[in-house]
């Protein structure tokens, strides 16, 4: 029999439906794979019983002749940023260690309703702040990939690095991610998997630990474009509990998937040709153009003149929102409380937050507090919000000339853990190609394209018009079919 852990979402769902294997067999295989991969540190907690219970429910529904949900029999990893009823939810922080929600996030509930089960809660950068998975209180996540001829632990990207690591290592067929400034796409690119951030508002943010509310958006990470389409369909949808949730129907992306791009125009933004980008990335970008042309698309040059300013604007807006969102962690209602001897309320707040937040989180809260403070608000925050308008306007103008944009996902391949942590700014630059689409709220996807000379995967990014996830997925599928990317990391864990 095939090794069930080699299968993705669609293959598992279809196999369970047709009775080729049971959902329980699938869940058991993945539970074993998770238990055997502790060296990756991809999970903060594992929930094998949750996966088995969902599997048994799927098997029973099939035996009873009932309809199976779109994710029935598929056990997934859940980023530990989603509140899960009765299961510890920490955002990889010390301040939330031991927090077990008495409610379920809308996105996770939708996935359970669609028949999915949970293998466990995936590690991430603390409060989703980081691009390398080195800021988690629960230790770094290791990528399953290694450079040829080296044993150095590599970064799985961030913040959804537990997700990218688990999916690439075949210990989960798919996982949830969240993307604030690239946190689905950058780790997907580093790990050689696919991941899509839908239009802002498609997936409910209710029950997702908030980082920067005007940017945060959940999405799927999986090994193929089809799997992403299926899982996104299960995650998306209007939620009255989230004021920014879109009141729109969820299209059947899976059914409409087509890699025929005849009549589509693909824009190549000249400003994404940046200094410091690896030659291998530029080469894969050229390759991507050729693939999309082969799929029938017309390639057009476009300009997004404010690209350079997107990242600095992001590093004002996101910390500003974070400083406000993270004010709720004060030691009163949940999580850690540090009450020094004889301390008053204010001292308790300050001690609790000092003890509970990691360095990167503190750094961003301080920047956010600073740029929002009297005297600096207009110079920094308002200016950044205006630049955000211009970044979004660049894209609006581009849609007069093209239907989808092709760009690299990251300027470099993955790097060894620890190699960038001394310099926060260099780390931030990793998201230079991912952030503009986030600021504009656009759907954007990374698909694996080629391998570099070190044997590490490189991703290509597709950015679409608002609400047009379909074209993004279609173009992703066209690349996937032509790249034939089937590389998998050699098992060392």
């Amino acid at each position: 029999m095939t090794d069930l852990t080699s299968l993705g979402v669609k293959a598992i769902r279809d196999g369970v439906r047709s009775g080729d294997f049971t959902a329980r067999e699938v869940a058991e295989s993945f539970n074993d794979a998770v238990a055997g991969a502790a060296a990756l540190n991809a999970f903060i907690v594992t929930t094998p019983d949750h996966a088995l219970a969902a599997a048994d429910a799927a098997d029973k529904a099939r035996a009873d002749g009932k309809d199976l949900g779109p994710m029935a029999g598929v056990p997934i990893g859940m980023k530990d940023l989603f509140a899960t009823h009765g299961v510890q939810t920490t955002a990889a922080s010390h301040i939330l260690e031991g927090f077990t929600p008495h409610y379920e996030s809308t996105v996770s509930q939708k996935l359970w309703d669609a028949g999915a089960g949970m293998l466990g809660k995936l590690n991430l950068d603390q409060f989703a702040m980081g691009s390398s998975n080195e800021t988690s209180f629960f230790g770094n996540v290791s990528s399953p990939w290694r450079k040829q001829g080296s044993n150095a632990a590599m970064s799985p990207g961030g913040s959804s690095g537990g997700s990218s690591s688990a999916v690439a290592a075949r210990i989960a067929p798919a996982a949830t991610g969240t993307d604030t400034g690239g946190s689905i796409r950058q780790p997907a690119a580093f790990a050689g998997i696919s991941g899509i951030k839908p239009t802002y508002g498609r997936c409910s943010r209710w029950g997702v630990v908030a980082f920067a509310s005007s940017l945060d958006q959940a999405g799927p990470m999986a090994r193929s474009v089809e799997d992403c389409a299926i899982m996104l369909g299960a995650m998306a949808g209007f939620d009255p509990k989230d004021a920014t949730s879109l009141e729109m129907d969820v299209p059947d992306w899976e059914a409409a998937l087509s890699s025929d791009l005849k009549g589509k125009k693909v824009g190549i933004p000249k400003e994404y040709r940046m200094e410091g980008t690896d030659q291998a990335i530029l080469d894969s970008w050229e390759q991507g153009k050729a693939w999309l042309k082969d799929a029938g698309a017309q390639i057009v040059d476009i300009s997004l003149p404010h690209t350079k300013y997107a990242l600095p604007a992001y590093y004002i807006i996101a910390p500003a929102e974070a400083s406000s969102n993270l004010a709720r962690y004060d030691g009163v209602r949940y999580g850690l409380r540090d009450l020094p001897e004889g301390a008053g309320l204010q001292d308790m707040y300050a001690a609790t937050r000092a003890e509970g937040f990691g360095d990167e989180v503190k750094r961003r809260i301080l920047i956010g507090t600073y740029v929002l403070s009297a005297g600096f608000y207009d110079a920094y925050y308002t200016q950044a919000q205006k630049v955000r308008t211009l970044v979004a306007r660049d894209f609006e103008n581009a849609w007069n000339e093209c239907d989808v944009i092709l760009a690299p996902t990251t300027p470099t391949a993955s790097f060894p853990l620890g190699s960038l942590d001394a310099d926060p700014l260099t780390m931030y630059l990793n998201d230079v190609f991912a952030v503009p689409a986030s600021l504009a709220g656009l759907p954007a996807m990374s698909v694996p394209a080629t391998m570099n000379e070190d044997g590490l995967p490189l991703g290509l990014q597709l950015v679409g018009k608002p609400f047009d996830e379909q074209t993004v997925l279609d173009a992703g599928l066209a690349i996937q079919q032509r790249s034939g990317f089937a590389h998998a990391p050699a098992k060392w864990w």
Binding site: A243, P312, Y349, I365, L366
Partner: protein
């Protein structure tokens, strides 16, 4: 604009994060580095540009004025709400004494 140790200490106190001298000193160059980098936004001509606060045009919805319309998120769930409190007493969140 750049920050000195005293300014960082002020921001840290506004953000309610206790920081020792060592931590403050380490934070000063890091924040300055980042602030210096974001200064480039000043180059952008934003005359007549409205600041963007919402990316997707969406109208704010109003909820039906019904008590406990959604039983899972409305009232009557005191025990759930208090379940994770570090110190809950008599059905309330407990905090250290505020008034001497």
């Amino acid at each position: 604009m750049s920050v000195d140790k005293q300014t960082v200490a002020k921001i840290a106190s506004l953000a309610r994060i206790k920081m020792g001298d060592d931590e403050l000193e380490k934070m000063v160059p890091e924040l300055n580095n980042i602030l210096q980098w974001v200064e480039q936004l000043g180059e952008v001509n934003v005359d007549g540009v409205e600041p963007m606060s919402a990316v997707i045009p969406n109208t704010l919805r109003l909820r039906e004025d019904v008590i406990d319309a959604d039983p899972k998120t409305a009232g009557g769930r005191r025990d759930d709400v208090l379940a994770n409190a570090p110190a809950a007493e008599h059905g309330f969140f407990g905090v250290p004494k505020v008034i001497e």
